[in-house]
Symmetry: C2
DNA sequence: GTTTAAATTAATCATTGAATTAATTTAAGG
DNA sequence: CCTTAAATTAATTCAATGATTAATTTAAAC
């Protein structure tokens, strides 16, 4: 039993440079920041909380990044963009038919989610919503290309008679994001609150691709009246 | 030109009960709060900013609502739920085929957006995302019914052979929200950044219903190889 | 060994935000 | 008219947050 006079917090680190080689602290701080930013939004996430999650003092965030804004920029530059850019480049040429393009998109999102589980929530909150803190920055970096690349591909498909009537090529980006990235951002909700434990990315992907492939009605019941 | 010694801010209200009958201030505060909450997220929206947008002092928020939490509850109780509940009730019986149910859903969302333009962004940010401030509260009030009602309807349709193969009835809620409410939350983005001025709710709705009706490939090019 | 650089904490500061209170003005009721 | 209640602002308080600095410990370099 610890003596009553020495509070002796269990594993409290002493002041000074640590013995063990903690050379990866910067990475751990970025990870903690990503999780916290995605969970509560960037504005609502305090540096104290992030530092605490990484087991250090908020002064370390100042030491490694300078200030909160620079931390956000580092996260975007070193984690977000490097993982999103390959997808954008892939989509410029992947697949032939519209459905194949959509499949490539869904697969790319699925891959990103597998490595960065916090990305969908952060993207939805801070990039896609009005007033999101990352909108300007991200749009300048990746997005000028992504929507236009995809739109051009779907427009070409329509010109070639490969796109179903009534589908707006320009709106396909919104539809694809809404069907893949967005559900991933709320996965815990759909899972727990709706009592569906089987909702993982593979299940979501096959469902979504079926929907994109032939819609939701069976041919026999379509327009029955 | 105003004299230099009297700053005399133009239309600064004097202290005390106002002459004109401003009996609707409480409503205006709720409106300003809704807009601000949707624009930056609840946590990041300051009472100062909300009060300023309504042209009054933050003390008025305390006067009418008590504290920020009560303001949020009032907004949910008096603006959100009354506008969302009718949709939930409609969906319990509207339409016959899955496509008709989806159409009723899309139309309901469209109607809500017309009256409360700020709702999609607020809903996506604070209800659907992990860590959203309204999740617990809203889920206890409306959501226990909405997803289950819709899921049951799509499951019945599948049992009746009206649902296309590969479609998961439980995931349809996520798909519908992702195709309707979610794009509405980011409408200004799709519009401005993608150079598509024609993106309004009617256009989005017809596109989405076409997608849900028959998928995105023309029958002739489906499975070409 | 001694010196120097790196990494870390504790402590502090300034700013902002939510919450509260006292004072003030006007409307309404008798 | 006089009194009372309602609505509003200015000013203040308290907690939390981002930012910063000085002190401290260890590793590395010579």
């Amino acid at each position: 039993m610890p003596s009553r006079t020495t509070p002796a917090k269990p594993r409290r680190r002493r002041v000074g440079r640590p013995a063990g080689d903690d050379g990866d602290l910067r990475d751990r701080l970025l990870d903690a920041a990503a999780v916290q930013f995605a969970a509560t939004g960037i504005a609502a996430a305090s540096l104290r909380t992030i530092a605490q999650a990484a087991g250090v003092t908020p002064a370390m965030l100042h030491y490694y990044f300078g200030n909160k804004d620079a931390l956000v920029r580092a996260l975007v530059g070193e984690r977000l963009l490097p993982n999103v850019r390959p997808l954008v480049e892939t989509l410029a040429s992947a697949g032939e038919t519209p459905l194949e393009v959509a499949q490539a998109f869904a697969q790319g999102v699925s891959a990103i989610v597998a490595t960065l589980p916090w990305l969908p929530a952060l993207w939805v909150r801070e990039v896609l919503c009005e007033g999101g803190a990352l909108r300007e920055f991200v749009f300048r970096e990746v997005m000028p290309s992504l929507p236009q690349v995809l739109t051009r591909r779907f427009e070409a498909a329509r010109a070639a008679g490969q796109l179903a009537p009534g589908i707006d090529p320009r709106l396909m980006v919104a539809s694809l994001v809404g069907l893949t990235l967005f559900p991933a951002a709320g996965a815990p909700i759909w899972q727990k609150a709706f009592g569906m434990p089987g909702l993982d990315m593979p299940a979501l992907m096959s469902h979504t691709l079926a929907l994109l492939g032939h819609g939701l009605a069976t041919p026999s019941t379509e327009k029955p009246r």
